[in-house]
C-alpha cells in the first residue's frame, strides 16, 4: 500500500515538472521587439534611415510654430486666449538647450554608420555629413543660449562600475572655440552633402551646412564686436563667455565668404514669382511649399501622417474664418506693425491723429496701412484684409460724435446696433479676458495655412517652419560687409531685400539698419531674440519701463465712426492702446544674455564653471 502511494506521487511529480519545463521554453526564447542591437540597425538600410528621421524630429528649439505661445514672449505678438500673460522677466533657463543625450545618439550613429557594410561609400558620406551637420546645429543652439559648453567630439561615453568618472568630465569650451568647432564641422559636412535640393527642404544639403557656417560666423563676429563695446562686457575669466574683440573681423570675413557662396552658387534665390503683388509674393516665399526657391532648410510638417501636423493655424485663425472651435490664440502687436517702414518714409508709425490731435479718417480701415512695406501685408493680417479670399473684419466698436466729443461704444463681439451696423466685430478686438477674441487688432498671416480644413483639430496644418532661407544669406552678407567697412557691397545686398519689399533704397547703412531690416524680414522666424542678444541691444529695447514704446506691448483698435449728418459718418478711426493682455513690459536684464548653468550639471561635473551673474 505504502509503495503504491509513493510511486503515484513520483509519477505526478514527474508529469508536472515535464509539463512545467515545456511551457517555459518558448517564452524565454523571444527576441525583444523594443530594443534593437547595433547590428540590427546598421545592417539594414531602412533602419538607418529611420534613425536619421528620428534625429530630424529632435532638433527644434526656441521659437517655432509648434508652440504658438513662443511668439508672444518677445515684442512680436501678444497672447489673446483667456487670462492675461503675467510674464515680466525672462527666466534664467529661457529657451535653454543642453542635450548631450542627443549628442551621444549622433555619435553612436556615426560609429555604427562607419562600420556598416550595407551602404555604399557615397551613401555613407551623405549620412555622415547630415549627422555631423545636425550635431553642429545642436551645439549652435546650445552655444547661443549658454556660451561655450563641453565639446565631446565623436566620443561615445560608456560608464562601467568602478571606473574613474573624471575621464568622462569635460570642461566647457570657450565661446570662440565653440563657434570655431561649429564652423569647422559645417565646412566638413558641406563637402560630404549633396548640392541638390530635396522635398520641402526638409533635409540638410550642402547649402544648409554653408548657411549654418555663415550664421555661426556672423554671430561670433557680432558677439566679439558688440559685447566688448558694452560698458562692462559680459565674460568669464576662462572665456566660456565672451569672445576677444580682435577676432571680430576674421569672423565677419568668414561670414561674408560663406553667405556669398550661397548667394552666388546655390540653386536658391530671393523668390519673386508675383512681381505685381509683392505682399502675396512674400507670403508665398515663406508659407507655400510648392515651387519654393527661397527656403533652404525647414522643419517640415506633413498631411496625412499621424502626428506630423501642426496646430498653429487652428489656434490662431481669425474667428470669422475658423473651421473649428479654436481661434485667435495670439495676434501680432502694434510694435511690430509700426516697425515696417513706408515705401518712401522710414518712420513706420500709423497715422491715427493729425497735428492738431484730431482723428485721421479712413474710408476703409485697410487704407491706414497703404504704402507700407509689402512684407507687412505678407506677415500680418491687417483690418479688413483678405484671407482665403474674404475680408477679415477687425473692429473694436463705434466712435460716436456726441455733443462735441467722441464717445467710444463697444459691445459683446458680433452685436449690431439699431441701424444694423456691427459694433464690436465677432473677431474682436476687445480688452477683456475672453477666449477666442483678438486683443491686438491684428492676426498672423505668415505661416497661417490657407488650405481648406487646415484649421480643424482633426486635420491641422502641414505648414513648414523655415530655419534657413535665401534672404538670410543676403542679410548676413550685408551685415558682414557693413562691419568690414565695405559700404557699397553692403548696400547692394540690403537693397535687394528692400526691393522685394517694394521700399526705397538705402544710401548708407549702419547696424541699426541691419537690426531694423532683420526685425521685419524675419518676424516670427526665431531670429529676433538671438539678434538682440548678439547685438547687445536686448536690455535697451526690453528695458522694463511701463508704457515704453519698445518694451510695452501695444495694440491698435479700429472704430467705425457714427456721426450722422457729417462727412465722416461711416469712416474709420484708430486708437493706440496698451495691449491689455500683457500686464507687464518686457524686461530683459543683463543676467539674461546667457542662460544659467544648471547647478545639477556642475554637481555631476565639477569642471563646469558658472556663467556671469550666477
Amino acid at each position: 500500500m505504502k509503495t503504491t502511494y509513493k510511486s503515484i506521487f513520483r509519477i505526478i511529480l514527474l508529469v508536472c515538472s515535464m509539463a512545467h519545463l515545456q511551457s517555459c521554453s518558448d517564452f524565454l526564447e523571444r527576441q525583444p521587439d523594443q530594443i534593437l542591437t547595433d547590428d540590427q540597425i546598421f545592417g539594414d538600410k531602412v533602419m538607418i534611415r529611420s534613425v536619421l528621421a528620428n534625429f530630424y524630429g529632435r532638433v527644434t528649439w526656441g521659437q517655432h510654430i509648434g508652440d504658438w505661445y513662443s511668439f508672444t514672449v518677445l515684442d512680436e505678438a501678444g497672447k489673446s486666449d483667456q487670462g492675461p500673460d503675467n510674464m515680466q522677466n525672462f527666466g534664467n533657463s529661457h529657451w535653454r538647450v543642453s542635450n548631450y543625450e542627443l549628442i551621444r545618439n549622433f555619435n553612436q550613429f556615426l560609429k555604427g554608420l562607419r562600420a556598416s557594410t550595407v551602404l555604399s561609400e557615397s551613401e555613407k558620406q551623405e549620412y555622415e555629413g547630415e549627422v555631423r551637420f545636425l550635431r553642429a546645429w545642436t551645439y549652435f543652439n546650445m552655444c547661443r543660449g549658454l556660451g561655450g559648453m563641453p565639446i565631446v567630439g565623436d566620443e561615445v561615453f560608456e560608464y562601467m562600475s568602478g571606473m574613474d568618472v573624471g575621464t568622462l568630465q569635460y570642461p566647457r569650451a570657450t565661446e570662440a572655440e565653440m563657434y570655431d568647432y561649429i564652423i569647422a564641422e559645417c565646412e566638413a559636412a558641406a563637402l560630404m552633402l549633396p548640392a541638390s535640393t530635396n522635398t520641402n527642404a526638409a533635409r540638410a544639403n550642402r547649402w544648409v551646412a554653408v548657411m549654418l557656417q555663415a550664421r555661426s560666423a556672423i554671430y561670433a563676429g557680432s558677439l566679439a564686436n558688440y559685447n566688448n563695446k558694452m560698458t562692462s562686457p559680459i565674460r568669464t575669466s576662462g572665456g566660456e563667455v565672451g569672445i576677444p574683440a580682435n577676432l571680430a573681423s576674421t569672423y565677419y570675413e568668414k561670414a561674408l565668404k560663406a553667405a556669398q557662396e550661397v548667394i552666388n552658387t546655390s540653386p536658391y534665390s530671393l523668390q519673386m514669382t508675383k512681381p505685381d503683388d509683392l505682399e502675396r509674393n512674400f507670403y508665398e516665399a515663406l508659407s507655400v511649399k510648392t515651387n519654393n526657391t527661397e527656403v533652404i532648410w525647414a522643419r517640415d510638417h506633413g498631411y496625412p501622417g499621424e502626428g506630423q501636423q501642426v496646430n498653429f493655424t487652428t489656434m490662431n485663425i481669425p474667428g470669422s474664418h475658423a473651421e473649428d472651435i479654436d481661434r485667435a490664440a495670439a495676434g501680432p502687436i502694434l510694435n511690430l506693425v509700426e516697425d515696417f517702414e513706408y515705401v518712401d518714409n522710414r518712420n513706420g508709425d500709423i497715422k491715427i491723429r493729425d497735428e492738431q490731435g484730431n482723428f485721421v479718417f479712413y474710408d476703409d480701415p485697410l487704407d491706414a496701412f497703404a504704402n507700407k512695406d509689402a512684407r507687412l501685408g505678407g506677415s500680418v493680417i491687417l483690418p479688413n484684409a483678405l484671407f482665403r479670399g474674404t475680408a477679415v473684419e477687425i473692429q473694436a466698436g463705434h466712435k460716436v460724435w456726441n455733443n462735441g466729443t467722441w464717445q467710444t461704444v463697444t459691445s459683446t463681439p458680433g452685436e449690431r446696433d439699431n441701424a444694423g451696423r456691427i459694433i464690436t466685430s465677432a473677431n474682436g478686438p476687445n480688452r477683456s479676458n475672453e477666449q477666442f477674441i483678438n486683443k491686438s487688432g491684428f492676426f498672423f498671416r505668415k505661416f497661417l495655412d490657407e488650405t481648406p480644413g487646415a484649421s480643424t483639430r482633426g486635420r491641422n496644418s502641414d505648414m513648414w517652419y523655415p530655419r534657413f532661407r535665401f534672404a538670410e544669406a543676403v542679410l548676413i552678407a550685408a551685415e558682414a560687409a557693413m562691419e568690414l567697412g565695405q559700404q557699397s557691397i553692403a548696400l547692394g545686398y540690403i537693397n535687394q531685400v528692400r526691393d522685394r519689399a517694394g521700399i526705397q533704397h538705402l544710401t548708407a547703412i549702419s547696424i541699426d539698419d541691419i537690426i531694423q531690416e532683420r526685425r521685419v524680414e524675419f518676424a516670427f522666424e526665431n531670429h529676433r531674440y538671438w539678434d538682440l542678444k548678439r547685438f547687445r541691444r536686448a536690455h535697451i529695447i526690453w528695458n522694463g519701463v511701463v508704457n515704453s514704446t519698445t518694451a510695452q506691448h501695444w495694440a491698435l483698435f479700429p472704430y467705425l465712426v457714427v456721426a450722422p449728418g457729417t462727412p465722416n459718418d461711416g469712416k474709420y478711426v484708430f486708437d493706440r492702446l496698451t495691449f491689455s493682455n500683457s500686464l507687464h513690459p518686457r524686461f530683459f536684464e543683463l543676467r539674461n544674455y546667457y542662460n544659467f548653468i544648471d547647478l545639477g550639471w556642475q554637481n555631476a561635473n565639477p569642471k563646469i564653471v558658472l556663467n556671469p551673474f550666477q
Binding site: 560698458t231 562692462s232 558658472l610
Partner: protein, 224 residues
C-alpha cells in the same frame, strides 16, 4: 460594536505614530544681517529675487549655494541649521563693486553679519515730499568708485512699501546727473490713477550705473 471601536482606535494609533520619526526638524537658527557701506545699509531692489547673496557650507560632496535674498532696505535674514558657513555676494549682482570675498559665519542659534560692500555711487541728502499734484525729489549723488558712469537716476512712486524699477506706479528717469551737487526734480502725478484715487503712496530714488545689473536706492519713504 466594541470590536469596531477597538479596531478604529488601533487604526488611529497606528496612523498617528506613522509620521514624525523619519522627518528632520525644521531649521531653527537665524542668520540676520545687512549689506552696508560706511555703516549705512545699502538700499536695493527688493522684488523679484533681484539681489542675492550666496551661502556655502564646506565638508559636503555637493557645493550648491543656498540663495539669501536681500530686501529693499539692504537687510537679509535666513533660517538655517547651526554650522559654519561662508557668505559671499552673487557674481556681478548688486550696485556695488563685484567682490567675491568670503565672510565666515559661525552659526549657533543666532548670528548677526554685516556684509561690507563698496558701492559705485551713493545717494545722500534725499528728500521726497508731495506738494499738490507733484512729487518733489532732491538728492545728491556721489561717486565712490572711479571708472563708472551714471546711466540714469530714477524717481519711483509705488502703492506699497515695495517700490523699485520694476514695481512702481509712476516713474521718471533723469539723465545727465551731476555728482557732488544737489539735484532737485519734480515728478508730475496729476494724471496718475493711484494718485487720483487717494491711495497711500511710497517713493524713493534710485541710481543706475551704466553696465550694472542693479540700481542703488535710497530708503523708502511714505509720501502719503
Amino acid at each position: 460594536m466594541k470590536k469596531i471601536l477597538y479596531t478604529l482606535s488601533l487604526c488611529s494609533v497606528l496612523t498617528m505614530t506613522g509620521c514624525g520619526l523619519d522627518n528632520r526638524d525644521e531649521p531653527e537658527s537665524t542668520i540676520r544681517g545687512r549689506v552696508v557701506y560706511d555703516g549705512e545699509p545699502v538700499g536695493v531692489r527688493g522684488t523679484g529675487e533681484a539681489v542675492q547673496l550666496q551661502l556655502f557650507q564646506d565638508g559636503y560632496e555637493l557645493r550648491n549655494p543656498v540663495p539669501v535674498y536681500v530686501t529693499q532696505d539692504g537687510s537679509f535674514e535666513i533660517k538655517i541649521f547651526d554650522g559654519e558657513y561662508k557668505l559671499v555676494t552673487r557674481n556681478n549682482n548688486g550696485p556695488w563693486v563685484n567682490d567675491r570675498d568670503t565672510t565666515v559665519v559661525r552659526l549657533q542659534g543666532m548670528a548677526n553679519v554685516d556684509i561690507e560692500v563698496t558701492p559705485l555711487f551713493t545717494l545722500s541728502n534725499v528728500a521726497l515730499s508731495l506738494s499738490g499734484g507733484s512729487l518733489s525729489a532732491s538728492f545728491q549723488v556721489d561717486q565712490v568708485t572711479q571708472g563708472w558712469d551714471i546711466d540714469y537716476a530714477t524717481i519711483v512712486v509705488g502703492r506699497t512699501l515695495f517700490v523699485d524699477d520694476v514695481s512702481y506706479t509712476a516713474r521718471r528717469d533723469l539723465r545727465d546727473i551731476d555728482t557732488g551737487v544737489l539735484t532737485t526734480e519734480l515728478l508730475d502725478l496729476t494724471e496718475n490713477a493711484d494718485f487720483k484715487n487717494g491711495r497711500a503712496l511710497y517713493a524713493r530714488v534710485g541710481l543706475r550705473a551704466a553696465g550694472k545689473d542693479q540700481s542703488i536706492y535710497s530708503q523708502v519713504i511714505k509720501i502719503r
